[in-house]
Symmetry: C2
Subunit: 400 residues, 2 copies
């Protein structure tokens, strides 16, 4: 694997031009000049360099308004690549994508038996090595993005706490950089997901957006003014531990009535254990999990459906708190629990409609991630691409 | 009243220089040049103009390191002024301040019997007229800041909803501008308070800060990246209606277990009515209010103290939710209920210490506003000053 050439985007004009090509391709030089207000000669000279570097390529001729048909530009598809990794609590998924963020190849492996930092890093490296073996010698990796579950310090690139693996202080960035020598970005999974939702939405870029990753745990990624919002100690977005029932059941964190204790996959399973006869789970080899409860619901089991309605009620209350505090343009829900969105989402919307303080609050935009299980993986890719295409601002998260 | 000359700050250099004088006065031209990296001739020419306009004045000679003693600069105190108004639910307080934000004169009037928009505007105008009568003909008002309770649209300068007065859509900015012909800024009280805390803290400027105004209602003002955070529909900060007990009592807003139902002055009074014999309130002319319960607490009444501890418990849970979502650098508490901070604050800190997810969360910085009852008034002044001293960025909230 070779390190991609990074010097090409260290100019504001070039950054504007390449972003324009990214969002509006296929686009002509003339259109770029018109819409970015950069002079045609500057556009031309920058595009020339971008083509020489293999970042941009010419495609079919555009439509002409009389004279010669203009040559249309788009991001190149076969020179520079990005690796995105979704490092969950049970498995690692790695992907290879082009500059457009399209996923070309995938690899995944289980994290069963991974109980030391060294084994975890080894699993990560194997995944990345495997996925990069799809590249030809002439093709370059521009960076590797790791969307990691649990508490993450993106500046150090460290997984501070990975609760389900029982691991702490895994120096992911340091170890991977030593091995691969390309820029490494490590981010919390929910924040990566937020970055993905914002980055890939080129037509309707939200100024503020919150994504919720609802699975084993519940985390939020927050975008403010188009940027990830971290809070003072990288703690912002710990929505799973928002108290919504101060006299409720005790959560893993020791507090009472956290959103997570009312909405996680574990809660779905334990509600089902209490309320659905175990015989119903025989066809699933007696596995009572969020997923098997969902399958029962799909088969019309009313108690299973009711459980998902209760989950929707709790998520609705969590979101109404979020709306009254943050008032984001858009809320996107993802994670394993949202596989049951057909039962959950209508209730979530109903609660928000009932409890919103104003008409606008009641009609807050809530949707399911369009990428389903790939939401985090898309986020891992986006955290790399957002740095690759970034303007000349100081890039403090990079190793460069 | 005359409109102050605004042209003087429409240059980035001048804005940097005047802000340096504001925060570091008394300061010499040489120090300004050194610390701002603006060339000495540019500093000199700008300072010359600022002195001619009466914005800056020379003060006692500074200490010399050999040669001639340098002339020290500070903001002028007797030429330009700002009016700040705290428009609460029961009374209006108006203040006249100098460019440093020091309060020089005050006026207040009751809002009893004010039940139409016209009467409210009249009360505002009377207050402003009265306070500006302290000025000499040669002295100018640079702007008027109104910190208004309830829901405010700062762009329109309108009080959208003032719940305790039962008024809606009061066009404050429009009416006041027509009358006074100076820039008018209207902001929600909790947001103004946040602006005041950030603006006047010149030594330790927080990047993120949340203020809570806990009185009849409970509102929050949020600063992110040094700027007020509004949310998509100016709804951000409605922390009073954060559900912390989803099965709790019904709030004014119709929802259950809102923070406000557990912490407001009204709650204190109603808890006292239930649990403290009415004979204890005879010495207060049978008035059972948050304030008289506080006075009982000060006299050692254990039940009264216990009520404030319960309030502290609920505020603590609201703040821990805020910390886990926003993770701000600093939280500042104000409002009438915080008069009883001696009973409330220790419990708030204890809850945060108990329930924080991480060591840093447990040690989140929480304090009482250093200005006590003037916190909102200082905020009203700050919303004007922040525009006056602002750089050349488009000033969309101004009428200019």
């Amino acid at each position: 694997m070779r390190l991609g050439t990074f010097e090409w985007m260290k100019s504001v004009n070039r950054s504007i031009i390449i972003n324009k090509i990214r969002t509006d391709a296929p686009i002509s030089r003339a259109q770029i000049a018109k819409e970015t207000k950069i002079t045609p000669p500057t556009v031309s000279s920058n595009v020339k360099e971008l083509i020489a570097l293999g970042i941009v390529e010419e495609t079919d001729y555009g439509t002409s308004s009389g004279g010669r048909k203009p040559k249309m530009l788009m991001l190149t598809e076969n020179k520079y690549f990005v690796i995105g990794v979704d490092a969950g609590s049970q498995k690692i998924q790695a992907s290879l994508s082009n500059l457009k963020g399209e996923i070309l190849n995938r690899y995944h492996c289980s994290l069963e038996g991974v109980h030391t930092n060294e084994l975890f890093i080894e699993a990560l490296m194997t995944s990345i090595d495997t996925i990069s073996s799809f590249l030809k010698p002439s093709q370059d990796i521009l960076g590797i993005g790791i969307a990691m579950h649990g508490v993450v310090d993106p500046l150090k690139g460290e997984a501070t706490f990975a609760p389900n693996l029982g691991l702490t202080n895994i120096p992911i960035k340091e170890m991977l950089y030593e091995h691969f020598q390309v820029p490494i970005y490590v981010e919390n999974d929910a924040r990566a997901m937020a970055m993905g939702e914002a980055w890939f939405d080129t037509t309707n870029v939200p100024q503020s957006l919150v994504t919720l990753n609802i699975g084993r745990g519940v985390g939020a990624g927050i975008i403010v003014d188009g940027k990830l919002f971290y809070g003072k100690d990288y703690l912002a977005g710990e929505i799973g531990h928002m108290t919504i029932n101060m006299n409720g059941d005790i959560c893993d964190c020791g507090n009472r009535g956290c959103l997570q204790t009312l909405t996680s996959g574990k809660t779905i399973a334990s509600k089902a254990k209490e309320r659905i006869p175990s015989t119903h789970f025989e066809r699933f080899n007696d596995q009572i999990t969020g997923d098997t409860v969902f399958q029962l619901a799909c088969q019309g089991n009313e108690e299973a459906i009711k459980i998902f309605h209760e989950i929707g009620h709790a998520i609705g209350i969590g979101l109404i708190n979020l709306i009254h505090m943050f008032n984001p343009e858009r809320i996107v829900l993802g994670g394993g629990v949202m596989d049951a969105s057909q039962y959950i989402l209508p209730i979530v919307k109903q609660i928000i409609q009932e409890k919103g303080l104003t008409g606008k609050a009641k009609n807050s935009h809530v949707e399911i991630s369009r990428w389903g299980h790939d939401a985090t993986l898309k986020g891992a890719i986006a955290i790399v691409l957002s740095h690759v295409f970034d303007d000349v601002a100081e890039d403090e998260l990079s190793n460069e």
